[in-house]
Amino acid sequence: MNINNYFRLIIPSHSRNEAFARAAVAAFAAQLDPTVEEINDIKAAVSEAVTNCIVHAYPDKIGDIEIVGRIIEHDTFYIRIKDKGLGIADIKQAMLPLFSTCEEGERAGLGFAVMESFMDKLRVTSRPVKAGAAPSGTSVIMTKRVTSRYE
């Protein structure tokens, strides 16, 4: 069986949408019959990526966040979270555990560490904003193989 199922969701970067985004993604991923722990892993990873868009990509304005979810190879969940915000100058450094550019906002610098350890794969592409050019922002792609709880 090869289910080709996907969704595409666009939300403005209001912090109250964090709960909505992870609940919506969890509801879609539920068709893979994940365990409670797997659903929590997916919810936390989505929450991290969406919060990063809200806090870091659009620090002083509201911009769009695009979330695409997909079922691939009938047991793997794919998610892409994209913004058109400020971008990341040094991705390697940003992904280091405990690294955060946010001092006064009391961020732990663990967002990417959570995504990396709770999902199977994490890929980040980003381009920092340049004066004159259209902002291209950041894209976070994650996949996780889900073991059906009926297996």
Binding site: S15, A19, A44, T51, V55, E106, R107, A108, G111
Partner: protein
């Protein structure tokens, strides 16, 4: 959220989902209590927490900074399951109360 003040210690009973949005209002409420009571021990009780992400870790670290400013200390209470998984990832197991440490073994 419920806050119990018992002289030396202040217990904050957290509940629901702790994310960046929730943190925006939680922070001020807890800090006002710390400033008012300057507890020797601040216990953050995660028993009623159904979800949290790294914002919950930021909440712990931020309150630790504030409480330590008044000479107090912060402990984590009733962390289990998913909350515990995050606390371990963040390397905050030394802040767990004794019974939580037993749960780890």
């Amino acid at each position: 959220m419920e806050i119990i003040n018992s002289g030396d210690s202040l217990t904050v009973m957290l509940s629901g989902e702790i994310d960046h949005h929730a943190l925006l209002s939680l922070r001020g409420t807890i800090d006002a209590q710390i400033e008012q009571h300057t507890p020797r021990l601040l216990a953050l009780d995660f028993g009623g927490v159904s979800f949290m992400d790294s914002s919950g870790i930021g909440l712990i670290l931020g309150r630790r900074r504030v409480a330590e400013g008044y000479g107090g200390k912060v402990m984590i209470k009733n962390a289990s399951g998913y909350v515990l998984k995050l606390i371990k990832l963040a390397g905050l197991t030394p802040m767990l109360m004794k019974q939580e440490v037993n749960n780890l073994l």
